[in-house]
């Protein structure tokens, strides 16, 4: 359970012992073809919380996630990890602290175990064989994602949902303090949607990770997020708890669809229902 901190106290080569995993975006700007994709985005995620990025298609969710992951260099503004500008850090130290589970996967017939083992490269180095602690981290990541039984299978032969879990396992094997998940429930059936979102919450609440998650399903976002940020046209329209952000007024205006907000029968989180027969 506590592998990411307790079981593996000092990841090999891992610096930044004081790193707690606070990720801050300041004034992020990015344009594409003259259109603002990110427009002065300010965001922060703290260790122990799940921040959901929501918004209509093309709002800039994935672009923002890529900018946070140091994959896209913003035209202006900074992304900082525990106060350090990620663009002033080398790629490997960043990858020891922050992991991305991307949405689109390009796959090659590595076995699941070999594929997840790639997540250990930032710790072990690119030219060194994996050690026993790396293998332990890989096994733990496979277990947490329910992939242990599939570890010998080539990832190209997995179902779409199994591939998503393999990608998540690879991100977990990185032993990150910040976990970025891009639409992690896409292509998963209901059982694994629930499992993955539950895992995201446990990683934040029990293991103290900072989790940023993009979701197009507002009700899933309401169920998993401690806080959410609503994006539209590259701007952050609202940040706050699901109750503060998921209002009929705000969601209706942002998505251009009239909605009604009711309550989840068990935990009382907001549930968005589009109203039929209008618009």
């Amino acid at each position: 359970m506590t592998l990411w901190r307790g079981g593996d106290p000092a990841p090999p080569g891992g610096g930044g012992a004081g790193g707690e995993g606070a990720l801050t975006a300041m004034n992020l700007r990015y344009n594409l073809g003259g259109r603002a994709i990110l427009d002065h985005v300010q965001l922060q995620v703290q260790p122990g919380e799940v921040l959901a990025l929501i918004g209509p298609n093309g709002a800039g969710k994935t672009t923002l996630l890529r900018a946070l992951a140091r994959l896209l260099r913003p035209l202006g503004g900074t992304v900082s990890l525990d106060g350090r500008d990620v663009w002033r850090m080398r790629p490997r130290p960043v990858a020891r602290h922050m992991a991305l589970a991307p949405q689109g996967a390009e796959l090659w017939p590595l076995t699941v175990e070999q594929f997840v083992g790639l997540g250990r490269a930032p710790h072990r180095g690119w030219l060194m064989p994996l050690g026993s602690d790396d293998h332990a981290a890989v096994q733990a990541a496979l277990e947490r994602t329910g992939m242990t039984i599939l570890r010998e299978r080539p990832v190209t032969e997995l179902s779409g949902g199994e591939q998503r879990r393999a990608i998540l396992a690879r991100a977990l094997a990185q032993g990150p303090r910040v976990l970025l998940l891009d639409e992690p429930t896409a292509a998963l059936d209901l059982k694994y949607q629930v499992a993955i979102l539950g895992l995201a919450r446990r990683l934040a609440h029990n293991d103290g990770l900072s989790v940023v998650i993009t979701l197009h399903d507002l009700n899933q976002a309401a169920g998993v997020a401690d806080r959410m940020a609503l994006l539209s046209n590259g701007r952050v329209l609202a940040v706050g708890t699901p109750d503060e952000v998921l209002t009929a007024e705000l969601i209706g205006a942002t998505y251009g669809v009239p909605v009604s907000v009711c309550r989840h029968p068990l935990d009382g989180t907001p549930l968005i229902t589009p109203l039929r027969g209008e618009g």
Partner: protein
Amino acid sequence: MTGRLRLRPAIWAPALAIGLVVVAILSLGVGAVWLSPSEVARALLTPHGPDTIATAVTIVWDLRLARVLLAALVGAGLAGAGAAFQGMFRTPLADPFVIGASGGAALGATLAILGKVSFGVATVPTAAFVGAMLAVMTVYGITLASGANSATALLLAGAALSTILSAVVSLLMLMNDRAIQEIFAWLLGGFSGRSWPQLTMSGPPILAGLAMLWLLARPLDALTSGEETARSLGLPLNVARGAIVAAASLVTAAAVAASGLIGFIGLAAPHIARLFCGSSHARLIPASALVGALLLLIADSAARTLIAPTELPVGVLTALLGGPFFLWMLGWGGSR
């Protein structure tokens, strides 16, 4: 590819190594004078022993051993470089010549044969080596300078430069019809007349480049998951890609310098290796090299004997024999 044939390295590595030794001993025995495997073994192990035939020692050590070792090394090198490029470019169609090495080597060798360039003693091999390295460096430089810094851009630039260079070679051949046969024979590739000088020249760079590629196995694995994923894992993309291109091109250029353009081995051997060792490069690079060495050794033995005393160009043979086998294997292996 399905996983049903996958074997442990503890099985395939010794099996291939033993196979390689057996085929090498058989190969040392075939030619104008046939030697039995025991005669070959005695000539190799106890050249001054009482039971050893002196002519066998001369034939094995002076005429055939260097050629057999060279064929094995060139096969290993082409296959290892092919496996690396297939992984880096994420395409099963890639071979060692995919970013211009063949075109550059052909132009270099052609210019040397025509007497336009000279490098002292080993003119044609050196010119081929220099041509291959220059072509690859040009392709890599263009890609870096254009800012379209991706594997796809590298592939496209390689295809474009290869086309240009082979057009120049064709033109030079047309304009110098006296040398056409010599150029053509070089382009087809083979080990006729190759011996210790070629082995000592090309062997070390092939081995060094293969060792580098093996060391780069995990970056190669990461690149097969896409460039964005590789970057998110902290891989310095340009350094990794540059090192892979440099190592694979060193191997390819050294192989081409020794033997001319031998096609197909670099494409097919990695696919055959993947059938039993999977796709992780830590295993695929050595397995491909062993398979490539085995294939080219068999092909060269056949090239020497099928229509003896005339030798077939081994490049023609690898395509003629290997092509149908490869097609059969793809159908049987249930590949995409």
